[in-house]
Subunit: 353 residues, 2 copies
């Protein structure tokens, strides 16, 4: 505090009518300790952040004092240690300050600086290769033609990966060609710069769907075809020990597959919680929804009224705007055949503040 | 879909026992339309994403067909438009796709690409000058000496500003000197690179507190001294029309002042909601807390038991670890004198997933 550093016991009994009178023998400034020794009957002017002069053990704030020439009247009692920051008051030697695995908060960075540590070991941000394939695809943001459309998934996936703590590296859009896809996957799997590979498009079972066979040939295809809608043509495998995720080309399926599987891969590699980052809110369904048993549904919904959500049911997996007009999604469990209007559901909100 | 493009009405009555037999006259690939005209009795092999050949109006999925040489047996009926993506099915001309002011989501970037638009107008990320002053301060992460300590606030403020959509630009730590502070503020206020100025340290009323007088001299000091704990030595003003925030040097006060005022400035300038980004959760107080009436308290709390929070009361404004061990904070309103144990309170969680 701004005030006077002194010997606390010399203020015993001091008040407005009978102030303790002390000789001011110098000044202690932040970063510059007063050089002398303070003895009985003496005080040193001090500012917040300044070191305590030798011999002193308390500070009287300036508002309880009056300076007259070289003498200060101290009009209050202080106890030893009052208004003095103690070495170790914030951080004690031997105490664990931050547990391993913690997602660092802004104040943690302050604390780390307080420890006199300029760097710490952290989990490396994982680099995720996003390989986009499709003969009909143009670069993102290009005007569509009568036979070709811009790649819409790589800008979306790049933003999702960055949000979840990864570094996206986009390759493509590439032509659907087995040999060139295989060559690229071999390179990426061998690269120390890449931690996981997401292949977007060609993930189904048609003649132009090269990704599953490619992974089968280069490594292991551990899962292919998921009992959910959309996003059933999703696959997962390993090449040279690296996770490879096959994401469907239809944009809503792609988002759904990312939300269920891609985000988990990125967040795990980034050392974060693997759970979805969306805030969850309870709402009632405004209308009945029907779901095939044995299949998980990713149901886009919109907020309506005070506490309800309305299913956006009229749109297929290619209608990306169903996810931009939606406020969030509801996961309809595989064992649900239908949910009646009025049922309370957990809504995963797309909006992350 | 992968299958055959054809004229829907030619499949009327087709089933397993009486398939429609069509001549396959070519193939339509993604990005490459079949060149010819399809007439009655004909079909074209097609893959997902390929353009519809002239004359066709539906696709029969491959699993309902059998190819024998140049002839395909179609074993199901399809209606006109079946399995065909319609121009405008996702985005209709004239429809507003994204409202101005929206915080863009990953899928919004996909949608923008789908529109054939490579760039859109967005709110510029504001650059926030963080001016750190204090004669006792060393650069962040430096080992403390017996009289000097590392700056802990600028790493924290930089992370907070980045989190809220701003670009932090740190100046300092600087010596507490009125003339040099004034010179820097004049430069920053005139710079087109800087949108707001946060001065950290020297924000109170002592002899080394130059920031308030500096702002008063260069512009307007609109508020100085806030009825809250910690963070009472907070100030706000304008220099050359630019917001200037005075943040206290004590680290907990600094965090509190940022949470209440700094974040609002950054998020507003960044075009975001001005409300705090912390998720809010309801919990009961495990112990009574006392608060001076007329003053807002920023009470750090820790989760305990199933649904309670424990106040961290033993620590002052200099104990930064009280914010790293805390799970969040409770805002105790100015008109509250005390809150009994068991009171339900809104906890702002520091952890943002």
């Amino acid at each position: 505090m701004d005030g006077f550093a002194l010997i606390a016991e010399e203020t015993i009994g001091a008040d407005d009518s009978r102030p303790a009178k002390l000789e001011v023998i110098g000044r202690s400034r932040p970063g510059l300790r007063f050089g002398g020794q303070v003895r009985s009957g003496q005080a040193v002017a001090i500012a917040t952040g300044a070191p305590m002069p030798a011999g002193t053990d308390a500070v009287v704030p300036v508002e309880f004092t009056e300076l007259k020439g070289n003498t200060v009247d101290v009009r209050t009692e202080v106890t030893s240690g009052k208004h003095v920051g103690r070495v170790g008051e914030d951080v004690e030697a031997g105490r664990t300050m931050l547990e391993a695995g913690r997602l660092l908060r802004p104040q943690d960075l302050g604390l780390i600086s307080a420890l006199g540590t300029g760097s710490i070991q952290v989990v490396r941000m994982p680099s995720i290769a996003v390989v986009v394939t499709g003969d009909e695809l143009l670069s993102p943001g290009t005007k569509p033609t009568d036979v070709s459309i811009p790649d819409v998934n790589s800008p979306m996936l790049a933003a999702l990966i960055a949000r979840d703590g990864g570094i996206p590296r986009v390759y493509g859009p590439l032509m659907d060609n087995f040999a060139s896809l295989k060559k690229l996957i071999v390179e990426l799997a061998a690269s120390r710069e890449i931690d996981a590979i997401f292949i977007n498009g060609g993930s189904s079972t048609g003649p132009e769907d090269h990704a599953p066979a490619c992974i089968r040939e280069l490594g292991e295809l551990l899962a292919h075809g998921i009992a959910m809608r959309p996003a059933s043509p999703t696959g997962f495998g390993l090449v040279a020990g690296k996770p490879v995720l096959l994401l469907p080309g239809n944009p809503v399926s792609c988002l759904c597959a990312y939300d269920f599987f891609g985000g988990t891969v990125v967040r795990k590699l980034a050392g974060r919680s693997s759970s979805m980052p969306y805030p969850v809110i309870r709402r009632r369904l405004s209308a009945k929804i029907v779901s095939a048993p044995g299949r998980v549904d990713y149901l886009r919904v919109r907020f309506v009224g005070a506490d309800e959500v309305e299913p956006i049911t009229s749109s297929g997996a290619s209608i990306l705007s169903s996810t931009t007009t939606a406020d969030g999604f509801v996961i309809v469990a595989a064992d649900s055949e239908s949910l009646d209007a009025g049922t309370w559901v957990d809504v995963h909100r797309y909006e992350i503040p």
